[in-house]
């Protein structure tokens, strides 16, 4: 297994108490596989990637679990690695495409130089002309004109910056790329084109990817497996088709029916009433219970176990949705 995350917990310490942003997350990722993590804003999606790469702010506290990462010489627990060792795994092992591509390029350096910087950091012996050649290849791969590598970020359009950021993420031939809302800032047409290209490159280079987005349409387009996240926890994880065809968690069910679809049979659009819980003080039992139409007294008392209900289909629910069952959400 390339990446194996087990019971990962990371809380932010605030004056009011701990914000439980990542609270017992487990998943596996194999070579060439792509995992999509979908969830509302503020449910802790980005915090997962920041915890894996250990790029957390000072008030973040690691509370347990393990991140086993195998670069070909046995699994290493990234959580316990000293900072100097961890640096070698960043970008070389796991790289990232950040949420705001517009701002992830330093405005005072040439785009090519920023990619070369990453390459030479991990391959100090690579001569400059070879590094430049590598950047030119990457530019061609992501559909940018290589002659633009000596330009500054402000001379790029939004879509071009996004492509440059993708090229940068590929620079050190990483095993895994985490794409955090890779296309949120772009218009729909550019968004679609870039997603297709990322997918193509991923297949070509046989890399593993983790997509993070609030947009289930984006996730559906690019992922083999989809994890649905709610209030710091995974509530459901299965392959993409199963998640769409037969969601077992009521929250997933609601999400799937909250988006209009242009294909397939007509279904009623669903809105999930209420708001996600405050992560400072989440509900005692199931965190979705206050909004769930199927919830009963057990749900608000006992936290449901995250278990494999069917093969490769993980759900954390006391009353999973059965096939053909119709769940009705009522607003107040």
């Amino acid at each position: 297994m390339l990446l194996s995350v087990r019971d990962l917990r990371m809380y932010y310490k605030t004056k009011m108490g701990y914000v439980k942003a990542v609270d017992g997350i487990s998943f596996d990722l194999d070579q060439g596989e792509s995992l999509g993590i979908v969830g509302e804003s503020g449910c802790g999606k980005t915090s997962i990637s920041m915890t894996i790469l250990r790029l957390l702010p000072d008030n973040a506290e690691f509370k347990g679990g393990s991140v086993l990462f195998d670069m070909g010489n046995g699994p290493v627990d990234l959580v316990n690695l000293p900072e100097s060792e961890m640096r070698k795994y960043r970008w070389r092992g796991i790289s990232m495409i950040f949420q705001a591509a517009m701002n992830s390029l330093n405005p005072v350096y040439k785009v090519g130089d920023q990619i070369i910087e990453a390459i030479q950091n991990h391959f100090p012996d690579m001569p400059l002309d070879k590094a430049r050649q590598k950047v030119a290849e990457l530019f061609t791969l992501v559909g940018l004109d290589p002659s633009r590598m000596d330009q500054y970020p402000h001379q790029y359009s939004g879509g071009m910056k996004q492509r440059a950021v993708i090229a940068m993420a590929l620079a050190c031939d990483p095993k895994i790329i985490i794409a955090d809302e890779p296309t949120t800032a772009l218009d729909v047409i550019v968004q679609d084109r870039i997603l297709k290209e990322i997918r193509k490159i991923q297949r070509k280079l046989n890399m593993a990817m983790i997509y993070i987005s609030h947009d289930i349409a984006v996730i559906a387009e690019v992922s083999d497996k989809i994890a649905v996240m709610y209030a710091g926890k995974f509530v459901e994880l299965a392959d993409a088709v199963t998640i769409f065809k037969q969601p077992m968690h009521p929250y997933t069910y609601g999400l799937m029916h909250a988006f209009p679809s242009t294909v397939g049979e007509k279904t009623e659009l669903v809105t999930i009433p209420g708001e996600p819980p405050n992560l400072l003080n989440p509900p005692k039992g199931c965190r979705f219970a206050p909004r769930c139409p199927k919830a009963d007294s057990v749900c608000s008392e006992v936290e449901p176990e995250y278990r494999e209900l069917e093969k490769n289909h993980f759900v954390a629910c006391h009353h999973p949705v059965q096939p053909k069952e119709v769940v009705r959400f009522y607003a107040e």
Partner: protein, 383 residues
């Protein structure tokens, strides 16, 4: 760029004329004049009084004198000082400028280098020990009454510890038999500093082209140290090193006082902009690339936070030619600042206006340089 420069130079010329006019009329508006002390003297005959008035030009009305002043100003003639009659104002400035520039440029440089380094580190480890102490100490010195700090330093280092001279800029006993005037030594010291600065800048440009950090450091350090060693050796061989050392020894206390007083200004600017920059996404990206902590701090964060600091620095360099009235008085340093005070006390209008105009020219030029530097440092800015 050229078009921008042309426009700016034109603006500066217009601004300069407005500035000279304002300064002239402000000084003119002061009550009394240099010749009043003679005009009110009953022992002088009316003829002598008239003669005096004519000699100093006070027989003409103010607006005619203004026109004459402007005519002379166009030929870069700032007139003749009243109190140092018949020395030209430009001669007085030329004599005092090296002393002031040497003192104030040194302290500005030291306080900005200190401010940059402390501010950058303080922001990087926010609310750490360094952040708390430097901010506290910086603000204490920043708000302190400057003469008090000067007297305290003189008392501590000159009276109690007896390691530094109390005041003046040279030791008169030593210079009695000196083969050269202090002015010559001063100018030579300035030249040495200039050579060092040029070497340093060239080394900086070369090191920017180099790719690895050790190579950059080697180029910078070896060239700087070599220049320092070579210039010290030349000074010793020339036989004037005792005199140069005497001047430098006298400079330590004022430079220390000025640096303590002002480093917090640049430090807080650096710390503030750094705190903003640290939150930018490209800093997280740089960390995610696996770059070492100090590379992220210096190459990515500090480089972006540098811009406002550089502007402030260049403009305060412009102000250095004005010297400082308080500092120069406290340390009996015969520079431009003292000349201001003397000119004001004796109502030496030509000297006073001349000094203000001279400082103004430099500040305006500094603004222009800051504009150009901004474009060099930030590729997003193009004129």
């Amino acid at each position: 760029m050229l078009k921008f420069l042309g426009k700016r130079v034109l603006q500066i010329v217009v601004l300069l004329f407005i500035y000279v006019t304002v300064v002239y009329w402000l000084i003119e508006a002061m009550p009394g004049s240099f010749v009043d002390q003679y005009l009110l003297n009953p022992k002088l005959t009316p003829e002598i009084r008239e003669n005096l008035k004519r000699q100093f030009g006070f027989d003409k009305p103010a607006h005619i004198r203004y026109l004459i002043y402007m005519k002379n100003f166009l030929t870069l003639d700032l007139g003749i000082s009243f109190s140092y009659f018949p020395t030209r104002v430009t001669t007085i400035i030329a004599e005092r400028l090296p002393r002031t520039v040497f003192l104030f440029v040194t302290s500005t440089l030291v306080s900005y280098v200190l401010g940059y380094n402390l501010g950058k580190r303080a922001a990087w480890k926010r609310s750490g020990l360094l952040d708390k102490t430097t901010t506290f100490v910086g603000i204490v010195f920043w708000t302190i009454f400057l003469p008090l700090l000067a007297i305290f330093n003189i008392w501590l280092f000159g009276v109690i510890l007896k390691i530094l001279p109390l005041n003046q800029f040279i030791d008169p006993n030593l210079w009695k038999s000196a083969p050269l005037s202090a002015q010559t030594i001063f100018i030579r010291l300035l030249l040495t500093a200039l050579v060092f600065l040029i070497v340093f800048l060239i080394a900086l440009l070369i090191s920017n082209r180099l790719k690895t950090i050790p190579a950059k450091k080697t180029v910078l350090y070896t060239s700087s140290i070599t220049t320092i060693v070579v210039s010290i050796v030349i000074w010793i061989l020339s036989g004037y090193s005792t005199y140069a050392w005497d001047i430098i020894k006298h400079m330590v206390l004022p430079v220390l006082t000025l640096t303590l007083y002002s480093f917090a200004g640049s430090m807080l600017v650096m710390r503030d902009t750094m705190l903003d920059v640290i939150r930018e996404d490209y800093i997280t990206t740089a960390k995610a690339k696996g770059l070492p902590d100090n590379v992220v701090r210096d190459k990515h964060a500090a480089r972006n936070a540098l811009l406002p600091l550089v502007t402030n620095f260049v403009i305060s360099l412009g102000f250095t030619v004005g010297g400082g009235i308080i500092t120069e008085t406290m340390f009996s340093w015969p520079g431009i600042g003292r000349a201001y005070l003397e000119a004001l006390n004796t109502q030496d209008t030509p000297l006073l206006i001349g000094l203000l105009v001279f400082t103004g020219i430099f500040v305006l030029i500094a603004h222009l340089v800051a504009d150009v530097l901004y474009a060099v440092l930030d590729p997003r800015i193009r004129y």
